[in-house]
């Protein structure tokens, strides 16, 4: 797309933004809630379009897409959005004594999308609109389907909302197009840390910059979930967390901890997880793996095998050419690189305190932690993990189903995109003599 097309898209948003600003927030949020409900409905045209078109466009297996959409969208309802908006006091449009704060979106918002998972894309478009801010979207090459699908559903539900979204695609080196993207007073960027850092560096001080960089998620099983049927059950759910979106999301676990003083706990967990992943592969086959990622996985597998050959008690499950998963049972809590695409390491830690110590080095990148089997110590562990920086704690099997209002990176979903004006009305007790 040329820079002229990007400029034309921006220009078109001026009128669309003006039309949107004349609307009552309540109406806008209600329309957006219908869009969310549409995607949450497995029979809706839009949901079926995603299920049909995403596999070929993204390389995910059709069954995995279908299940990923179900797990992700089924947890959402339009009422969740309305509740969020209400919490942000978006229903209150007038600036008077009764509403001493006035919250609105920016005149426009530029959004940089990345990745191929549809749920974050939907929210990236819906949230600025909920604040009546028109959106210029630079779509991700990884997902040529979802942005257009969301826009079409917006247009059908409420043509003014559809007109308030413009999707652009341009080369990374097209500086003129970037200049146009950077004109918006609010900039939202999702991507690698390098991308977010580069974009943040170009934003002006007067602009609102909201960046979402690299994050990682983990899972941890405590003593009550490390044996027998409880272990089997937890591993089946963990396998789902790993298999959905082929472990490529920031909510996909990259490592799993066995928190127990029993030295056989981690190998037991690794073996059970490998069995669960093998069984999951039959239902949710792994999708396309690029050469780069496959090479990374081979290297990490072989390094693990060599460490084992060097005499350390490390085991590798799967990882052969016919396997679509690899589980490495490590002998320490030291975190190592994760090639993703259903490659996970199991680490032993002696207890919950050992878990927080093991996660401390990745605290700045921590997203979600799935925990189970910690018994009465669970609230204390949850508090420790929250203090460490986790923005989500849930049970195994729920990692890929964040609520619509999840505090992504620990932030309120709408507040970073909003401006608030405090109205300090003149005090009736002040007489003329009190003027100063």
């Amino acid at each position: 797309m040329s820079e002229d097309s990007v400029r034309a898209a921006r220009d078109a948003l001026v009128d669309a933004g003006a039309a949107l600003s004349r609307r009552a927030n309540r109406d806008v949020v209600a329309a957006l809630a219908r869009v969310v409900d549409g995607f949450a409905d497995p029979g809706s045209e839009w949901r079926r379009a995603l299920a049909r078109d995403l596999p070929e466009a993204t390389g995910f297996h059709p069954e995995t897409v279908q299940r990923g959409l179900a797990v992700g969208f089924d947890a959402w309802a339009g009422t969740d959005l309305a509740r969020l908006a209400s919490r942000q006091r978006l229903g209150e449009d007038r600036l008077d004594d009764a509403t001493p704060e006035w919250t609105s979106g920016f005149a426009s918002t530029s959004v940089l999308l990345a990745g191929a998972i549809p749920m974050p894309t939907l929210l990236a478009l819906v949230f600025p609109l909920a604040l009546r801010s028109p959106v210029l979207v630079r779509a991700s090459a990884a997902d040529p389907v979802t942005p257009e699908c969301v826009q079409a559903s917006l247009a059908e539900t409420d043509p003014e909302l559809g007109a308030a979204v413009r999707i652009v695609r341009f080369d990374s080196a097209n500086d003129e197009a970037w200049r146009t993207w950077f004109e918006a007073p609010c900039l939202v960027a999702t991507g690698s840390d390098a991308t977010v850092k580069a974009l943040a560096g170009r934003a002006e001080p007067w602009q609102r910059f909201v960046g979402y960089g690299h994050r990682e998620s983990f899972a941890a099983l405590g003593p009550d979930a490390l044996d027998g049927p409880a272990l089997t059950d937890a591993c089946e759910r963990l396998a789902l967390d790993l298999a959905l979106w082929d472990q490529l999301g920031c909510l996909s676990p990259v490592a799993c901890f066995a928190a127990s003083s029993d030295p056989t706990a981690a190998p037991r967990l690794a073996e059970a997880l490998a069995e669960a992943l093998a069984a999951t592969e039959a239902k949710l086959p792994r999708g396309r793996v690029e050469t780069e990622s496959a090479a990374f996985a081979v290297r990490e597998r072989d390094e693990a095998l060599l460490r084992a050959a060097g005499g350390r008690p490390i085991s590798v499950y799967g990882g052969e050419l016919h396997d679509a998963y690899t589980v490495v049972c490590e002998d320490t809590a030291e975190l190592r690189p994760c090639p993703r695409h259903r490659f996970i390491r199991v680490h032993p830690v002696p207890d919950a305190a050992g878990l927080t110590r093991a996660l401390a080095p990745v605290a700045p990148q921590l997203a979600a932690v799935a925990i189970e089997g910690f018994g009465p110590g669970t609230p204390e562990l949850a508090e420790e993990l929250a203090r460490l920086g986790a923005s989500r704690l849930c049970a195994p099997g729920r990692l890929q189903a964040p609520p619509l209002g999840w505090h992504h990176d620990g932030r309120s979903p709408l507040a970073p995109l909003a401006r608030t004006c405090d109205w300090e009305s003149p005090s009736p007790s002040l007489g003329e003599d009190d003027n100063y």
Partner: protein
């Protein structure tokens, strides 16, 4: 075959006036060396067994299991009693990072492999017995005794450099001004060799002063390694353009060396050894490269991208088959002759929601 016999044959090959590819000889020596390393390096033997490969089962050199370079950080891969070790080369890294270690009981093959390949690809016009002026933009072997790169440069200076050849990095810093003076004063073709990031530091120095040098005709550059974290980063083409602009050395006279601590042999760009052909990496005949499709374990399809796996027979003391962390591609898909390095096979970021390749800086949308 015993190791001494293998090394004897290899040394004879390396000392031939024009060492040429010899597939049967490579096959025989590679399998003999595998048998020796399987017998004498226990971790490697256990690794091979886990991969289902033993000397009895391996029928082609291509089937010899390759160890990833990262394993040298974790396991001592030594095919001789460690008490006999005379040299330990370590990979670069900070004091807190784990560094890879290559243990050697002899440098005879390392030295024998180094010189003919360097001569062929960097100094193809050098007459027998002639010496060149060489300045090295890297620390000396005295300063960094465990660096294989510094050792390599020291060996080259000793064997091929004239009396005014030396290192230009001291106490960890490039003597940029001194190097300018020495380069400007040089009246004969100059060979500048060093790390890519040291060249960038020198370019920055020249840029700051607005200096451009015009080095004598016939001068050339050999650069190696990456930039990451050591200097500003440049695409190779831009790097060569800057070198050409500031030093007057055309890109066709700039040779990239592809080597690593874990290897006894090195690969070089072909621009000087085969100026008519496309730029590609070529190595000595006793070091062969496979481009492996990680999905199948077999050779990558013609023209396709694969993991660079080096079978370097000069690695008699450790393990000959090395799986690098890099991806590569044959430059001429029809010929097993030369490859290009495309970069490291990494992808640690969560690409589902933050696609590493979709970056603003240089990636395609």
């Amino acid at each position: 075959m015993k190791r001494a016999e293998i090394e004897g044959e290899l040394l004879a090959w390396m000392r031939e006036p024009e060492p040429a590819p010899d597939a049967p000889r490579f096959e025989r020596l590679a399998r003999a060396l595998f048998a020796h390393q399987f017998e004498h390096c226990a971790p490697y033997a256990r690794f091979c067994e886990a991969r289902g490969a033993t000397p009895a089962r391996v029928e082609r050199w291509q089937d010899i299991p390759a160890v990833p370079t990262g394993a040298f950080k974790e396991v001592r891969l030594c095919s001789f009693p460690t008490a006999r070790a005379r040299h330990v080369f370590r990979t670069s890294g900070t004091s807190t990072e784990r560094r890879g270690e290559l243990w050697l009981d002899s440098l005879a093959l390392y030295h024998a492999s180094l010189e003919p390949a360097f001569r062929r690809h960097v100094l193809p016009d050098l007459h027998a017995g002639e010496r060149v002026r060489m300045r090295v933009l890297a620390p000396s072997a005295r300063e960094v005794p465990d660096s294989s790169l510094s050792h390599m440069f020291a060996t080259l200076l000793e064997r091929l450099g004239d009396d005014a050849s030396d290192f230009d990095v001291a106490d960890g810093a490039l003597d940029a001004e001194g190097l300018c003076e020495r380069a400007q004063a040089c009246e004969r073709p100059l060979v500048l060799a060093g790390t890519a990031f040291a060249f960038v530091h020198w370019l920055d120095h020249l840029n700051e002063r607005g200096l451009s040098l015009s080095l004598p005709a016939g001068s050339r550059i050999m650069e190696t390694g990456g930039f990451k974290g050591r200097s500003r980063e440049l695409a190779r083409e831009a790097f060569y353009a800057e070198l050409a602009g500031r030093l007057g050395i055309a890109p066709e006279r700039i040779v990239n060396q592809y080597g690593m601590t874990e290897l006894g042999s090195q690969f070089y760009d072909s621009v000087l050894s085969d100026p008519a052909g496309p730029r590609r990496k070529l190595g000595p005949p006793w070091a062969r490269v496979r481009l492996v499709d990680p999905a199948t374990g077999g050779d990558a399809a013609a023209g396709g991208i694969g993991m660079i796996v080096v079978h370097d027979l000069a690695n008699t003391g450790s393990v000959a088959a090395i799986q690098t962390a890099d991806l590569g591609r044959r430059v001429d898909p029809e010929r097993d002759d030369g490859f290009e390095v495309l970069g490291r096979a990494e992808g640690a970021e969560a690409r589902g929601c933050s696609l590493a390749a979709d970056v603003m800086l240089g990636g395609n949308p």
